[in-house]
């Protein structure tokens, strides 16, 4: 069985590309032979039923899977043509270039300011307090959080509401000026209003960063993304323009999923 890739995709520059990637947890194969190009200027959504491996695949894009001792990745994933699993590559640098936002908001139990400033600090992006202040403000503005928190930057990040926490995590990710932002079901723990705000934010960030979002909500995928990949049982079944996937899927399984036969 081969992945169906729609043919009408205009050829764009691929920011990241995966070739024949398989991910194992011990002996269990969680991802089977996935190949995909992630374009620079679009939002790419991974959809599929729970346990289909979409989050696993996402985590292999910035090597967060390294933290799981039994996980093993085969195949090749490149960022700007550079193999990210090459022993020569510094994983710290990779993660600075490929940021990530998680399912549950996970601000550090420190001040809002410290949360955002942490990345620039450890990477040495700012010389002096003024530059750091500027980066923090810029990141919070881009994350649409500045107006809400500018008066209380020294409050704990964990004291914010769920939606604000998630935007804080996005601000934290963009503070290190990444090229790609991976989002792992960023709205699954949020209420509809907070979700709408995050989606708006994704729209605004689109174009500045290559964004990959994993979601179990097809509506969300339809709303925020321009490219969609459908995953099922560890395989990528179909990949194409979001509008095509949702209106004219080629594969029967994609059709079944988006019409709600399973999932």
């Amino acid at each position: 069985m081969v992945t169906v890739v729609h043919e009408n995709l205009e050829s764009t520059e691929a920011k990241m590309s995966a070739r024949d990637v398989s991910v194992f947890y011990g002996d269990k194969k969680a991802i089977d032979n996935v190949s995909i190009d992630i374009p620079t200027e679009y939002v790419t959504a991974f959809i599929g039923p729970s346990g289909c491996g979409k989050s696993t695949f996402l985590r292999s894009l910035n090597r967060m899977n390294d933290t799981i001792p039994s996980a093993r990745v085969e195949g090749e994933i490149t960022l700007d043509g550079e193999d990210i699993y090459s022993p020569k590559l510094d994983v710290v640098q990779l993660r600075a270039r490929v940021g990530m936002v998680f399912q549950k908001p996970n601000p550090f139990p420190k001040s809002i300011y410290e949360n955002v400033a942490y990345g620039p600090k450890i990477h040495g992006f700012a010389e002096g307090k003024d530059e750091l202040d500027a980066i923090v403000e810029k990141s919070l503005r881009r994350a649409g959080l500045w107006e809400e928190v500018k008066e209380r930057l020294q409050d704990s990040g964990t004291a914010l509401s769920g939606g604000q926490q998630q935007r804080l995590c996005i601000a934290r990710a963009i503070a290190v000026d990444p090229e790609v932002i991976l989002m792992d079901e960023p709205c699954s723990a949020l209420d509809p209003i907070a979700t709408a705000k995050i989606e708006e934010l994704i729209d605004e960030l689109n174009g500045r960063y290559a964004i990959v979002i994993v979601t179990h909500s097809m509506q969300q995928a339809a709303r925020v993304s321009q490219r969609t990949a459908f995953f099922h049982l560890g395989k990528m079944v179909e990949y194409g323009r979001t509008s095509d996937i949702f209106t004219n899927p080629i594969e029967q399984r994609t059709q079944d999923y988006i019409t709600g036969r399973y999932g």
Partner: protein, 416 residues
């Protein structure tokens, strides 16, 4: 048509139910009884120690008025400030002066019951305030051990009579013994103090903390955050779990066989004692540390990794600060245990008679629990009270440490 009665509503069942409830009540009372028993023993223990110990903070003292204007003792302030003050006063015959005025005040029989070293108290007072030698001053000097026990209504008939008559004249009373907190061990219960042992304990604990805390925390971080799952890691974990359960006396044997062989000159020094106790405390800190580190949610680590922190940065910037209260709680508990520990120190020679507080980490010392053990072996009645007083001091320290640990635990319990 006879109606079937449900088995749970028969009189038999209800009678049985009554019995079952009685059994329930008995069982419950037994449980409560077990707790009440434990608490009673605890209160009885603390009560006994307190009752005995209160006397231990006092000592029988005899009033001796000394008229220095007759004595002709000179106290040059320059000499009095130097370490030669004692020597100078002794050379000038201060002991004889004190003896003379004691004879005057108490009669010969009474004067014989002033501790032989009593003049040192007078000398210390002069050194502190040289102006005294121009005046008349009444000193409360420690009574001899015999007179002291006579005052308690024990010992020989003559002593009891003498004590009674002196007390009636207001020349003998029990006073709070401030010096108990500044002196060291002595052969006479009237002269002993707790400061020598306390200082020894403090020095020993400093060594223990300086070794066990960093090693324990770093080992806990390694095992919890970085250690690969392999045979070596299993061996390390197994040794730590076993060390935590090895009887403390075995650590003493290790200290004796290894540390004292390498450093034979430091027998009964706080350095060796601290090293031995550190080995014993380290596993406690490792285990507490691992639990505290485990409690830090993985999402914090993910968040830091995702902005490009290296594994070392993740741990030292995020995990360690969050786990620190838990680690500190475990450390304090481990240190409290080390502070109360006697057996391993017995093995490495810290049971010596040490009459002056230790100067540094390498001078001979004893520690609080060891002092308790040594005094408990003395026959003199005065030592019973002193032992209990020392126990109170030790228990107060432990209470403060444990209180601190409980406070930390409650204050920082799960903030995320």
């Amino acid at each position: 048509m006879s109606e079937q009665i449900a088995p749970t509503r028969t009189p038999v069942f209800e009678a049985r139910l009554k019995k079952r409830y009685a059994a329930e009540k008995r069982f419950r009372t037994m449980g409560l009884g077990a707790i009440v028993f434990s608490i009673t023993v605890l209160l009885y223990l603390l009560g006994t120690m307190t009752l005995n110990g209160i006397g231990g903070f006092q000592r029988a003292e005899v009033a001796v008025p000394i008229d220095f204007t007759q004595a002709g003792i000179s106290a040059d302030p320059a000499v009095m400030d130097s370490s030669g003050a004692m020597q100078s006063l002794e050379d000038q015959g201060l002991p004889q002066v004190v003896q003379y005025f004691a004879d005057e005040a108490l009669g010969e029989e009474g004067a014989a019951q002033i501790g032989g070293q009593a003049w040192r108290d007078v000398a210390a007072a002069i050194a502190a305030d040289p102006g005294i030698v121009e005046r008349q001053e009444t000193f409360w000097l420690p009574a001899s051990a015999n007179l002291a026990s006579g005052y308690e209504g024990e010992g020989s008939q003559e002593m009891q009579a003498l004590a009674a008559s002196l007390a009636a004249e207001g020349k003998l009373e029990k006073n709070f013994d401030v010096g108990f907190f500044s002196r060291a061990d002595a052969t006479n219960p009237q002269q002993v103090g707790i400061w020598g042992a306390l200082k020894g304990s403090i020095l020993t604990m400093i060594v223990t903390l300086a070794l066990a805390f960093p090693i324990g925390v770093l080992a806990a971080l390694y095992l919890e955050e970085y250690a690969p799952k392999n045979k070596w890691t299993d061996v390390i974990e197994l040794s730590i779990n076993n060390l935590a359960a090895v009887p403390s006396i075995i650590f003493g044997l290790l200290g004796l066989a290894v540390f004292l062989t390498v450093f034979p000159n430091f027998r009964s020094a706080p350095l060796i004692g601290g090293m031995t106790l550190a080995l014993m405390t380290m596993p406690v800190i490792v285990i507490a540390g691992r639990n505290a580190i485990k409690a830090v949610p993985p999402s914090i680590r993910d968040g830091a990794l995702a902005v490009g922190a290296s594994p070392v940065q993740v741990v030292f910037h995020h995990v360690l600060p969050l786990a620190l209260p838990g680690i500190l709680t475990g450390t304090i508990i481990g240190m409290a245990r080390a502070l109360g520990e006697t057996a391993p120190l017995l093995m490495i020679g810290m049971r010596a008679f040490v009459a002056s507080p230790p100067d540094d980490f390498t001078s001979p010392a004893t520690v609080l629990p060891m002092q308790i053990f040594l005094w408990s072996d003395e026959i003199d009645r005065g030592f019973v009270e002193r032992t209990s007083a020392a126990i109170i001091v030790l228990l107060l320290f432990l209470l403060v440490m444990n209180g601190l640990a409980i406070y930390l635990r409650n204050k920082f319990e799960k903030k995320w």
